[in-house]
C-alpha cells in the first residue's frame, strides 16, 4: 500500500512537470499579454518596458527555469493582471467551485443511483421507461442552454430564485461555505442541478445496466433461493457488486465537475475557479493558467488514488500492488 502510494506520487511529479512545460509553450505561442493589457495610447518604449518588467523579454527556457525555481518552493508566480499570488487566487476561488461540484455530485448520486436501480429492476414498466427517456434528455441537452432555461423559468418568469452569483457564506474551519445558509442554498438551487444533470443521466444508465446484469448472476439466484428478502438481495448483493464501476465513474466525474464547471460558472456568474481560468486565458495571464492546471492535475491524481483505495475496500479481491492502479 505504502509503496503503491509512493510510486504514484513519483509518477505524479512527472505528469506535473510535463503539464507545466506544455502550458508554458502553449501560452507563449499564442502571444503576449502586454498587447492586450497595455493602454493602447502607450508608445513602443512603454510597451517594451512593460514586457521587460514581467520578464517576458527573456528566452522561454529562462522564463521556465525561473518558474521552476519558484515552484519548488511552492511559489507558482504572480498573476500579471491581478498582481497577487496565482496560487492564492486559485485557493481563494476553490471553495466556491468545490462546493458547487460537491452539491452537483451529491444530487447525481442521490438521484442517479436509486433511479437507475429502479429502472434496472423494472425495465419494462412505464416508470422504468420514463426514467430512461429522461436520462437521454440529460445526456443530450447542452449545459449552457439548460442553465439559461432554468434562469428564464425560475428567476425571470417565476422570480423564485436568484439568477446568478454565490449567496451569503459562513466560515467552517476557515473555509467560507454557502451551503450552510438559506441564501447560499437559494443561490445553489439552480447551478447545482444544472451541473448535475449530465451525471444524473450517466449514473442512471450505469446503475441500470449494472443491475440488469447482476440480476442474472448465479449469486443473486442463489440468494433468492436461500429465501433472503428482496430488499436484502438488492440492497446488499446487487448494489454492492455494481458499485465498483459506479465509484470509478463518480471519481472521474467529480474531477471533471471541478475542472469543467466552467460553463455553469459563467452562465450563473458563479465566482469559481473555472471562471478564473477562462478570464486568465483571455488575458493570457500565464501564471494563473499554469497554476490552475497544476492544481487540477493534482486533484485528478488525488481522486484517482482515492478511487483505487476505495476499490480495495469495496472488493477484497482487489489488491493495491506496485504495478497496480
Amino acid at each position: 500500500m505504502l509503496v503503491f502510494v509512493i510510486r504514484r506520487s513519483l509518477q505524479s511529479v512527472v505528469v506535473l512537470v510535463a503539464m507545466s512545460v506544455i502550458v508554458f509553450v502553449g501560452v507563449y505561442a499564442i502571444g503576449n499579454p502586454i498587447d492586450i493589457l497595455i493602454n493602447p495610447q502607450a508608445d513602443q518604449i512603454d510597451r517594451e518596458r512593460a514586457i521587460a518588467a514581467l520578464g517576458l523579454d527573456r528566452p522561454l527556457w529562462e522564463q521556465y527555469l525561473t518558474f521552476l525555481r519558484g515552484a519548488v518552493t511552492g511559489d507558482l508566480g504572480r498573476s500579471f493582471v491581478h498582481s497577487t499570488s496565482a496560487l492564492g487566487l486559485i485557493v481563494e476561488k476553490m471553495p466556491a467551485t468545490l462546493e458547487l461540484a460537491f452539491s452537483a455530485m451529491l444530487i447525481a448520486i442521490v438521484l442517479g443511483i436509486p433511479l437507475g436501480l429502479w429502472a434496472g429492476l423494472k425495465p419494462d414498466a412505464l416508470s422504468g421507461r420514463t426514467i430512461m427517456a429522461g436520462s437521454i434528455l440529460g445526456f443530450s441537452l447542452p449545459t449552457f442552454w439548460v442553465g439559461l432555461m432554468l434562469i428564464m423559468v425560475f428567476s425571470v418568469m417565476l422570480g423564485w430564485l436568484p439568477s446568478n452569483g454565490r449567496g451569503t457564506t459562513v466560515d467552517l474551519f476557515g473555509v467560507p461555505l454557502s451551503l450552510l445558509t438559506v441564501d447560499g442554498l437559494a443561490h445553489l438551487a439552480l447551478p447545482a442541478p444544472n451541473l448535475a444533470l449530465f451525471n444524473v443521466a450517466l449514473l442512471i444508465r450505469l446503475t441500470r445496466s449494472g443491475a440488469r446484469e447482476a440480476l442474472l448472476q448465479d449469486y443473486v439466484k442463489f440468494a433468492r433461493a436461500k429465501g433472503l428478502s428482496n430488499r436484502r438481495v438488492i440492497g446488499v448483493h446487487v448494489l454492492r457488486n455494481i458499485l465498483i464501476p459506479v465509484v470509478t465513474v463518480i471519481g472521474l466525474q467529480f474531477g471533471a465537475l471541478i475542472a469543467f464547471a466552467i460553463v455553469t460558472e459563467s452562465v450563473f456568474a458563479w465566482p469559481g475557479m473555472g471562471k478564473l481560468l477562462i478570464d486568465s486565458i483571455n488575458l493570457l495571464d500565464r501564471p494563473v493558467i499554469v497554476a490552475y492546471l497544476l492544481v487540477i492535475v493534482t486533484l485528478f491524481i488525488a481522486i484517482n488514488l482515492a478511487v483505487d483505495i476505495l476499490y480495495s475496500a469495496l472488493d477484497p479481491r482487489v489488491r493495491l500492488s506496485e504495478g497496480g492502479g
Binding site: 503576449n32 491581478h82 481563494e92 476561488k93 446568478n164 459562513v170
Partner: protein, 521 residues
C-alpha cells in the same frame, strides 16, 4: 494561502456585520475588475471602480470634456510649467486633509509601480519635476512644452500619501490602503464576483443619490440580461444588441445610449510586400500589394454600405463614420461624412487601378472584442464580394489576433479605437503617425501607414499650446488622412445601459458606468 483565507474570513465577517444598505444600487458590469489599486494597471473596468473611490485633478464630463476635479483651475506658467490650484478643504475617507503632497506622491507612485503589464507612466513621464508651492498649489515642469498636461492628469487617481506609502497592490485589494477622497468608500472586493462601496457623505461634489452600491461582475451577456430581468440588479452596462428590442419594449426597463468615443474601422496593410491573404481570382499571391494604390482603398470604402451595416448589423445602435472621433470630441471635423455607398464607382476605381476582375481577400477580425465584431466583418465581406473583391472572414480571439496584427501579418483587419483622452490627437498619433520607436509615434500603426505630410501636422498639433490652433491642426490632419483613406472608418459604437424603471442614468461618451451619476426618478 493562509493569508488569502484570512482575507476571505475578514471579508465575510464584514459583510455579515454590515448587511445590505437600504438605498443601495446594484449594477451589473460587463468586464472583470482585476485590481482596486488605481495605479497598477490601466484597464477601463478597473478605472471605472477607481472613479468612485478616488478623485483626479481633472475629470471628464459625460461628453469627454475636461472639467475641474480636485483642481479648481490650471494654467501654463511659461512654456514648460503648468500650475494647478487644488480645491480647499477636501478630505480623505479617513478624515485627513488632501494636499499637494498627496498629489505629488500619487504621480510619483505611478512611476514606481513594478511588474505592471499596463502602467500609467505614459501620462506622467512628461513631468520632469514637481514643485509644491503651498498645500493647494502645485506646479509640474516638463522638458518641452506639453499642452496635454490637463488631459494626462485626467487619468491619474490621487491616493493618500499617509496610507499608501509602501502599500502594495494587494493592500488596495484588501482595503487596507484603499483610502481615497471620492464619492464612495471601499467596503470589499471579491475578485471576479463583486465590489461593494458605501457613500462618502462628505464628498466635495455633493452627496451621491444612493447610499451604497454593489457592482456585480456579469461577463456573460445572457447572465447579465437575466440578472436585470429577474430583478437581481438595478442596472447593467452593455446589454447585448440582440436583447435591446425586448428590453426597450418592456415597460419595466429603460434603455439609454450615447454615441461613444470608440470608432470601429478597417486597417489596410500599407507595406510594399503583398501578403498571402490577397490573391488573384485563381488563388495566386499578387506581385504587389493592391492596398498601396489609393484607388483600391477608395474603391473599398465606397463598396461598403455603412448605413446598411449600422441598421442591420448594429440594429441602429451605432452611427456611420467618416473620421476618427465623434462629434463633441476635440478635433472632430464638422461635415466630414463617410464615403457614400457607390458600388459602381467602386468597380470603376478597381478597373482603373488594374483590377477589373477584382481579387481575393481574407478579412481578419477579433472575436468578441467589439460589439458584433464578427458580424461586421461578415457583412463587409459580402459587400466587398459584390464589387469583385471576393472576401472571406477569419476571426480569432483578441490575444493571438493583436499579436499577429501587430506583426503586420494581416492584409485588411478590423480594429476599434477609443479616444480616451477625448481628442483626435489620440488616434492620429497612435494609429496613423509613422511608426517610430524612439519618437513614440505610431505604436498601434499596425498597417504601417506612413505619410510625412501627416506626420508634420501631427507633430505640430501635439506641441501647440493654443487650443484653437491645435484644433485647426488636428482637423487638417484628419482631413488629410481621410482623403488618403489611410484607414477605413465604419462607425462609432454606442455606449448602452439598461436600467430598471425608476432609475435613470445619464449616458456617457467614455462608456464609464458611474454609480454616483444614477438617479432615482
Amino acid at each position: 494561502m493562509r493569508r488569502a483565507l484570512g482575507t476571505v474570513v475578514a471579508i465575510v465577517a464584514l459583510a455579515v456585520a454590515s448587511g445590505a444598505p437600504a438605498q443601495s444600487l446594484r449594477i451589473g458590469l460587463a468586464a472583470d475588475v482585476t485590481s482596486i489599486d488605481p495605479h497598477y494597471i490601466n484597464l477601463i473596468p478597473n478605472n471605472n471602480i477607481a472613479e468612485h473611490i478616488f478623485d483626479k485633478l481633472v475629470r471628464m464630463d459625460a461628453d469627454s470634456r475636461l472639467v475641474p476635479g480636485l483642481a479648481t483651475s490650471w494654467k501654463p506658467i511659461g512654456a514648460t510649467t503648468w500650475e494647478f490650484r487644488l480645491r480647499k478643504g477636501v478630505k480623505f475617507h479617513d478624515g485627513s486633509d488632501l494636499t499637494a503632497a498627496d498629489v505629488a506622491f500619487s504621480i510619483d507612485r505611478v512611476a514606481r509601480i513594478e511588474n505592471s503589464p499596463g502602467p500609467f507612466v505614459a501620462y506622467t513621464k512628461a513631468i520632469t519635476a514637481i514643485d509644491i508651492v503651498d498645500p493647494t498649489t502645485i506646479r509640474f515642469r516638463t522638458a518641452s512644452p506639453h499642452p496635454l498636461m490637463p488631459n494626462d492628469l485626467s487619468t491619474i487617481y490621487i491616493v493618500s500619501r499617509k496610507v499608501a506609502s509602501g502599500a502594495s497592490t494587494e493592500d488596495f485589494n484588501t482595503g487596507r490602503a484603499t483610502v481615497g477622497s471620492g464619492p464612495y468608500r471601499f467596503v470589499r472586493y471579491v475578485n471576479g464576483d463583486r465590489i461593494e462601496l458605501v457613500r462618502n457623505d462628505g464628498w466635495w461634489g455633493g452627496k451621491a443619490p444612493f447610499s451604497g452600491v454593489t457592482f456585480r461582475i456579469l461577463k456573460n451577456d445572457a447572465a447579465r440580461v437575466a440578472a436585470i430581468l429577474s430583478g437581481d440588479v438595478d442596472a447593467i452596462e452593455q446589454p447585448p444588441i440582440a436583447d435591446l428590442t425586448r428590453l426597450s419594449a418592456d415597460p419595466r426597463f429603460v434603455v439609454v445610449s450615447k454615441i461613444s468615443h470608440r470608432v470601429i474601422f478597417f486597417n489596410f496593410n500599407h507595406l510594399e510586400r503583398s501578403s498571402p491573404f490577397v490573391t488573384d481570382r485563381d488563388g495566386r499571391q499578387l506581385a504587389r500589394n493592391p492596398f498601396r494604390d489609393l484607388r483600391v482603398r477608395r474603391a473599398m470604402s465606397k463598396a461598403v454600405n455603412r448605413t446598411a451595416m449600422v441598421e442591420r448589423v448594429m440594429e441602429g445602435h451605432a452611427s456611420p463614420s467618416g473620421q476618427l472621433v465623434s462629434a463633441n470630441l476635440f478635433g472632430h471635423v464638422p461635415g466630414l461624412e463617410a464615403d457614400a455607398f457607390d458600388p459602381e464607382g467602386a468597380k470603376r476605381l478597381l478597373a482603373e487601378a488594374g483590377y477589373p476582375d477584382g481579387f481575393q481577400l481574407t478579412i481578419h477580425a477579433p472575436a468578441g472584442r467589439y460589439v458584433n465584431d464578427e458580424k461586421i466583418a461578415q457583412a463587409a465581406a459580402q459587400m466587398l464580394t459584390r464589387v469583385g473583391i471576393v472576401s472571406k472572414v477569419e476571426t480569432l480571439p483578441m490575444a493571438p489576433y493583436s499579436a499577429r496584427a501587430s506583426r503586420q501579418e494581416f492584409s485588411f483587419h478590423l480594429l476599434g479605437w477609443g479616444a480616451s483622452t477625448g481628442k483626435a490627437s489620440s488616434p492620429l498619433r497612435s494609429l496613423l503617425a509613422t511608426f517610430d520607436r524612439d519618437k513614440g509615434t505610431g505604436a498601434v500603426n499596425w498597417g504601417r501607414y506612413s505619410n510625412p505630410a501627416l506626420d508634420l501636422l501631427i507633430a505640430e498639433a501635439v506641441g501647440e499650446v493654443d487650443d484653437g490652433r491645435r484644433r485647426g491642426l488636428l482637423e487638417q490632419a484628419t482631413r488629410l488622412a481621410m482623403a488618403d483613406v489611410a484607414l477605413m472608418p465604419l462607425h462609432f459604437q454606442f455606449a448602452i445601459w439598461a436600467t430598471r424603471k425608476g432609475i435613470a442614468y445619464a449616458p456617457r461618451t467614455d462608456e464609464y458606468t458611474l454609480a454616483f451619476q444614477f438617479r432615482a426618478t
